[in-house]
């Protein structure tokens, strides 16, 4: 599953995710990619280790006298071991499946034109994250970005002006880039795409369907 991934997360995304300051929409793409990519999992562990060093080097803030007893009481009140999240069972990586509460068969797709469909995933903050479904051989309408766009392929593959992106790969496009991803012939290409401003489809569409969609 991990060997064929060629396009990885950038250091700044991994560090922001590790530091806990990445918005939910982007965190969802990062967690999904790391679930499939041991290279980025190891890089993320390196950034987490920086956090560990920061923690270890902290000056201390005294805990109250009762703190230890109160913590034992918290443990006694709920001693259940916290389970690791259940592994992936279908198309979606576990963090995406758990966020949505289901796999691809639960998605309600809305057409955005040209045969392309999307489903916006609810997250907090001004950033957005959506699933895109592009029929094989079809182009995603031209779009510019107000900011960063992070796209992960979940199924199929697409090409754009820069390269080919297949399942597990991520493309990080900045605000200057206007690109036209084209899905390779074959099964639908399904992507998870986060943007820090709303996608602007140039020309084809007056506006994207509302943010609140039933998924």
């Amino acid at each position: 599953m991990t060997t064929q991934i060629r396009h990885h997360l950038t250091d700044d995304l991994l560090m922001a995710y590790s530091a806990g300051s990445l918005p939910e929409a982007f965190s969802l793409v990062v967690a999904s990619h790391v679930s499939m990519c041991d290279e980025c999992r190891a890089r993320l562990a390196g950034f987490d280790a920086v956090g560990g060093s920061v923690m270890e080097a902290m000056e201390v803030a005294d805990m109250s006298e009762e703190a230890f007893g109160a913590t034992l009481a918290l443990i006694a009140a709920n001693e259940d071991a916290e389970p690791a999240p259940a592994p992936r069972t279908g198309l979606f990586p576990a963090p995406l499946r758990d966020w949505i509460g289901g796999d691809v068969d639960t998605i309600v797709w809305r057409g955005v034109g040209g045969g392309v469909s999307q489903a916006v995933i609810q997250t907090r903050g001004p950033e957005t994250v959506r699933l895109l479904r592009i029929p094989g051989g079809t182009a995603v309408p031209d779009h510019g970005h107000g900011g960063t766009e992070l796209t992960m392929v979940l199924q199929g593959a697409f090409r754009d002006e820069t390269d080919r992106f297949a399942a597990g790969d991520v493309e990080c496009a900045d605000e200057d880039m206007t690109h036209t991803p084209v899905a390779e012939p074959g099964p639908d290409c399904i992507c998870l795409a986060a943007t820090d401003s709303r996608l602007q489809f140039t020309g084809l569409l007056p506006r994207i369907a509302g943010r609140i969609m039933g998924i």
């Binding site: 250091d11 700044d12 995304l13 560090m15 922001a16 590790s18 530091a19 806990g20 300051s21 990445l22 918005p23 939910e24 965190s27 969802l28 967690a31 790391v34 679930s35 041991d38 290279e39 999992r41 190891a42 890089r43 993320l44 562990a45 390196g46 950034f47 987490d48 280790a49 920086v50 956090g51 560990g52 060093s53 920061v54 923690m55 270890e56 080097a57 902290m58 000056e59 201390v60 803030a61 005294d62 805990m63 109250s64 703190a67 230890f68 913590t71 034992l72 918290l74 443990i75 709920n78 001693e79 071991a81 916290e82 690791a84 999240p85 992936r88 990586p93 576990a94 963090p95 966020w99």
Partner: protein, 219 residues
């Protein structure tokens, strides 16, 4: 492995906020007979792995108290640096330590130091309880019985983490401060973009090898 009588006294001292004189470090790969002598001669910083394993394997409350004495005041300070009030930081630090206990079975010394493990729990609690956001976590790769991490691997990673700490401590003050602020949650993603180039190659390679071995064991 766990040096019980010694620990409880010193943990108590640190709970009262006295300078922590340090637990006798117990390195799992060293021969037992030499432990105290080696430790007293060189006094390396304790890595807390034996205490964490005692909590994981035996629900050892004494070991937990030692971990609490060392980490809870750091977690509290960490959360306050991120903007939490003392009261909230105190409550969340207790939640962090309770989670450390409940998630002890997932701790793997070949993939994280104890301070890294504590940091990730504290970070997640900050997101969950203070920022009231959700954090999607990557799917975990649990170690199966055939993939039990070996002790040398774990020791090597602990040493890598120690060296990373030293490398970070040696950075110029300004850069160190930026990194600290990034991990306190003070910097946005865009501000973090300039903070790459940290010396993480060794740890990354070490963990990558451990993951490769795990994948192999899982078939």
């Amino acid at each position: 492995m766990f040096t019980e009588p010694d620990t409880s006294i010193k943990a108590d001292a640190s709970l009262r906020g006295l300078p922590y004189s340090g637990l006798t470090p117990v390195r799992s790969s060293r021969p037992k007979g030499n432990l105290v002598k080696v430790a007293e001669a060189t006094r390396p910083a304790p890595d807390w792995v034996p205490e964490m394993e005692a909590v994981r394997d035996r629900k050892d409350q004494r070991a937990f108290k030692a971990l609490f004495g060392h980490f809870a005041p750091r977690v509290k300070a960490f959360l306050m640096k991120g903007g939490a009030s003392a009261d909230i930081a105190e409550d969340v630090a207790q939640e962090v330590m309770a989670t450390l206990w409940r998630k002890a079975h997932l701790f793997d010394p070949a993939r994280a130091s104890v301070s890294t493990w504590v940091f990730t729990i504290a970070r997640n609690k900050r997101i969950d309880l203070i920022r009231k956001e959700r954090r999607p976590e990557p799917e975990d790769l649990p170690w199966g019985p055939e993939a039990e991490p070996d002790q040398d691997e774990a020791l090597a990673l602990q040493e890598d983490c120690e060296r990373l700490g030293e490398a970070l401590a040696a950075l110029p003050e300004k850069q160190k401060d930026l990194i600290r602020r990034a991990y306190f949650g003070d910097l946005t993603h865009r501000e973090i973009a300039e903070q790459t180039g940290l010396p993480l190659g060794t740890i990354k390679s070490r963990i990558r090898l451990a993951l490769d071995r795990l994948r192999h064991a899982m078939g």
